[in-house]
């Protein structure tokens, strides 16, 4: 057993976990942050994507201990109170989700994609960048639309700040 200290959604936490515990299980089982999902166990589907120090990471592929000292943001931590993150709003407005299971990971990946490609995001780039997130419901059509829409909204929000 080890104590892992990290910041999750802005709050400092210290959690006693078995050494083999994965970050996704620390979040889900110990902190009850069940918005981060497990879809495949082989780092293929991306349902478990969170941000570690601002970068999108598959939390099923990180030992909780490896995240010691870092700052983790999950799907529960991106809205500002009642104000949705532009990516969340874009997913809703473009019908970019159906069953909702892949959605948290999609949104967390998509935010990172927009950050990394702020200047020139096009459909082909979004599709290529979403390679690590699998959705079985939407056929990706509306997810791609949502990400492109959100990229515009995030740019506007940034300009306003």
């Amino acid at each position: 057993m080890s104590t892992v200290k990290l910041t999750v959604n802005g709050k400092q936490v210290a959690v006693e976990v078995e050494d083999r515990t994965l970050l996704v299980h620390l979040l889900r089982d110990h902190l009850n942050l069940t918005g981060t999902h497990v879809g495949c166990d082989t780092s293929q589907c991306g349902a478990c994507v969170v941000h570690i120090d601002g970068r999108a990471v598959k939390s099923c592929t990180v030992l909780a201990g490896q995240a010691d000292g870092s700052s983790v943001t999950t799907i529960e931590g991106i809205a500002k109170g009642d104000e949705l993150h532009p990516m969340q709003a874009a997913f809703r407005d473009n019908h970019g989700l159906q069953c909702g299971y892949c959605t948290p990971g999609m949104i967390m990946s998509a935010i990172d994609i927009v950050h990394r490609h702020s200047a020139q995001l096009d459909e082909a780039t979004v599709r290529e960048e979403l390679e690590g997130n699998i959705c079985r419901c939407t056929g990706y059509h509306n997810i791609v639309k949502a990400v492109l829409d959100a990229a515009g909204r995030m740019k506007l929000a940034q300009a306003a700040e």
Partner: protein
């Protein structure tokens, strides 16, 4: 229609919880004192279980119990059932072997459970499972249908000689033979429909909680139909009587058919919860999903189509072998029979059809309904046949189809189905226009100049949805009625709860069902709540599958709404001292037509519950229920056209354009309908290009993770151009047909027809991987 009424693309009410991480799926639920189950599964495709030594595991700290199949039998827990009886052409009933939830003696597919460990944590259960020693005696296995049907092949079940479950037929063989005898041309085709793994993104999970004082079970489960689960668990598996079993299907992360069925794990969790006296949770991992979720498709077919000299179809003859895997899953028997062969007329006027279907056991995961269930197999066969015929007869594929379209409705096919309405020319025309078919030859020539092989492929599909009426499906062998139920509760302050037996696991019912209420009563959808997925709350329900939730489930709500409205009008008339016939409902008010007298809905509701001044003899309250059984299936139909390019050097295909023109009748929420089509199309494209559940010669699955099974990803598929044509369904008052499966039914044939067009009509099977396409080009 109003901004939130029928026909409006209202954004979904349910989305907020999903986009903020507040969805509540089974694995998100924790109960006090919860224990964790881990199943021990057979690594062999066929073996005797000689012994199970759990002593090492039982001695490990945190291990509560190791339970085996033998104990399950000792406790008289029933075997899994198949709920649709099929009769072979010789009149004999289908031949089924027993399927115990954990195998006491013989395992028949890799992944079949033989024992379960219950422990204080997931990790402890998994660790202890490693310490359980199962001694197997391996038996020869049959991994596929050709080997299962060979003389002298290993037998799976003594009840099914030759590994044949049934040998069934439909149609008039003599009429077909006569048609072929006179035919000017006969076109032949052999094809396989590749086995698929459904892969809803949420793996199956169950939490069972036994209350020793009340002798009552609660089961949280990933189900598309919680009432059906309760019915089957009670009536057949001897878990508990219905009033002592509550089944809750909370948020469910996709189904696609695979979560219709009642699987061993849920049964075992319930039984184990009583055994250990604590809640038991099981959450499957992805490999368990590949090993145990019912697979889809897996047909091998031979077909012949006869044409007269005028290129009119005069007959169709089909012989299909359908793989059921090692056991008969809940609705498996109906899929290659009544959901497949009854659709072999497609959109065409075919005077004589004869189809034979042999159901076969193999040492593989059981096969059952997967998005479309039988109808994709029919559509794929027929649409590849039409394309092959067009090439052989040297006619335009669109024109050959048009020449043979059914144009008069109702139309009785020779294979049971009576199509109620449709306009197949309209959807073909819409698709031809959307893809600019006239410009295709020029585009093909241009691609050729750049060294690319360009092809275009059609698919004019039809499907039978709703899966009803009960009387009809009962006469065909179904073990259940396939109606739907609803309850409409207008609360004293005028808010409304709709309780429905349909289950939403991505379909958006919490929005679309509210739209009906908004449409009829003129209240905002924020005033309406949809309640589903809990047998303690909802009176009954048959669940969601077969694109039935709008046509059957929503119509049940409409029927209950009509009763509520009738009573509310009586109350309003009484209060307003007007005649009941003069009351009209507008914008949330009950008005006396032609006057300014009106009562808002909350006032009518309050009057119903205070009951101070109701018409003589009227019961208080404003709540009504309905059970709705349709008069026919519904028949969504449409045309999909795929244009793509093949790189002859690598065999890789790239989409140029994909258009879909569907006729779903009336659309409740076009945004949601289009989302359903997008998802279905990608499942169809996935089948055509990527997906294949593969077994090796010993029955070992070689595609049991996302590392090995090619799921469609964002960069594998195009964006789509959708359009709609409309003929209203006459079978239900809303005129809706259903849209959930169309994409998966129609897409695969369009893709393969386009590739074979590009490479010059070579034999090609799905999935058309670059390797297969390259070999098809290069021989």
């Amino acid at each position: 229609m109003g901004i939130e009424g029928i026909g409006a693309s209202v954004v979904r009410k349910e989305d907020k919880r999903f986009i903020t991480g507040k969805g509540r799926y089974v694995d998100d639920i924790k109960l006090v004192g919860m224990t964790y189950a881990h199943f021990i599964r057979s690594p062999h495709a066929h073996a005797k279980v000689r012994s199970i030594d759990a002593s090492g595991a039982e001695a490990m700290p945190g291990v509560i119990a190791v339970l085996t199949g033998k104990q399950l039998v000792d406790d008289k827990i029933g075997n899994l059932i198949c709920g649709w009886a099929i009769t072979s052409k010789d009149g004999s009933p289908m031949k089924m072997g027993a399927w115990p939830a954990m195998a006491p003696e013989t395992v028949r597919f890799v992944g079949q459970a033989v024992a379960v460990v219950i422990a204080e944590s997931k990790n402890l259960a998994r660790d202890a499972a490693e310490a359980v020693v199962v001694d197997y005696e391996e038996l020869p296995a049959v991994p596929d249908m050709p080997s299962a049907l060979k003389a002298g092949a290993p037998q799976l079940h003594p009840e099914a000689p030759g590994n044949v479950v049934y040998d069934w037929s439909i149609g008039d063989e003599a009429a077909v033979n006569a048609a072929f005898a006179k035919a000017a041309n006969v076109v032949s085709l052999e094809l396989t429909n590749n086995r698929l793994a459904p892969n809803a993104m949420e793996p199956r999970a169950a939490i069972a909680d036994y209350d020793t004082a009340e002798e009552h079970f609660t089961l949280y489960t990933t189900s598309q139909n919680p009432h059906v689960a309760r019915l089957v668990l009670s009536a057949f598996y001897n878990i508990a009587p219905e009033h002592k079993l509550r089944v809750i299907a909370p948020d469910v992360g996709g189904g696609f058919g695979s979560k219709i069925f009642i699987y061993p794990e849920e049964m075992v969790a319930l039984w184990a919860s009583k055994k250990v006296g604590r809640p038991v949770k099981w959450t499957g991992d992805r490999t368990e999903a590949f090993l145990t979720d019912a697979h889809g498709r897996d047909h091998i077919s031979k077909a012949e189509m006869a044409f007269d000299a005028n290129n009119k179809i005069v007959g169709l003859r089909v012989k299909t072998h359908a793989n059921f895997g090692a056991y008969m899953s809940l609705f498996s028997s109906s899929v290659p029979t009544y959901l497949y062969a009854t659709l072999l007329s497609g959109q065409y006027d075919i005077p004589a059809i004869y189809a034979e279907v042999m159901g076969v056991y193999t040492n593989t995961t059981p096969v059952d309904a997967y998005r479309g269930a039988g109808r994709p197999e029919a559509s794929y066969l027929l649409e590849r046949m039409m394309e092959t015929a067009a090439r052989q007869l040297k006619v335009d594929p669109a024109e050959l189809r048009r020449k043979n379209f059914i144009t008069q409705f109702p139309h009785q096919t020779p294979v049971i189905m009576a199509y109620d309405t449709g306009d197949f020319n309209a959807s073909l025309d819409a698709a031809l226009k959307a893809i600019d078919y006239a410009g295709f030859p020029a585009r093909k020539a241009q691609a050729q100049a750049q060294g690319k092989l360009r092809g275009i492929g059609f698919s004019c599909y039809i499907e039978a949805c709703g899966i009803a009426p009960s009387k009809a499906v009962g006469s065909l062998g179904a073990g259940v009625g396939l109606w739907e139920s609803a309850e409409v509760r207008v609360n004293p302050v005028g808010t409304i709860e709709i309780l429905t037996g349909s289950h939403s696991h991505g379909q958006g019912h919490e929005t679309t069902f509210c739209q009906l209420v908004a449409d009829r009563l003129g209240v905002p959808i924020s005033q309406v709540q949809i309640v589903h997925g809990d047998t303690d709350k909802v009176q009954f329900g048959m669940g969601t599958y077969g694109s039935r939730s709008a046509a059957v489930g929503l119509t049940a709500i409409l029927k209950a709404m009509e009763k509520v409205e009738a009573k509310a009008k009586k109350i309003a008339a009484h209060q307003l001292e007007a005649s009941e016939g003069d009351i009209v409902i507008e914008n949330g008010e009950f008005k006396v037509a032609g006057t300014d007298k009106a009562m808002a809905l909350p006032m009518v509701a309050l009057a119903a519950y205070t009951a101070h001044n109701l018409p003589d003899g009227m019961e208080p309250g404003l709540k009504e229920t309905a059970f709705y059984d349709p008069t026919n299936f519904t028949f969504p139909a449409g045309t999909y056209i795929c244009e793509l390019e093949v790189d002859a050097k690598t065999g890789k295909t790239s989409f140029v354009n994909f258009v879909a023109a569907d006729d779903f009748g009336r659309l409740i929420n076009p945004m949601i309908v289009e989302g359903q089509v997008h998802g279905g199309l990608v499942q169809g494209i996935g089948q055509a290009l990527l997906e294949h559940a593969v077994y090796d010669g010993n029955g070992q699955p070689v595609t049991a993770s996302f590392m090995d099974y090619a799921m469609p990803r964002a960069d594998d598929v195009p964006s789509f151009k959708l359009s709609h044509t409309t003929t209203l369904c006459p079978g239900n008052p809303l005129g809706v047909k259903g849209c959930g499966e169309a994409g998966a039914i129609g897409a695969s044939a369009a893709v393969i027809n386009a590739i074979t067009d590009a490479i010059g009509n070579k034999k090609l099977e799905m999935p058309a991987t670059p390797d297969r396409v390259w070999h098809a080009i290069n021989g």
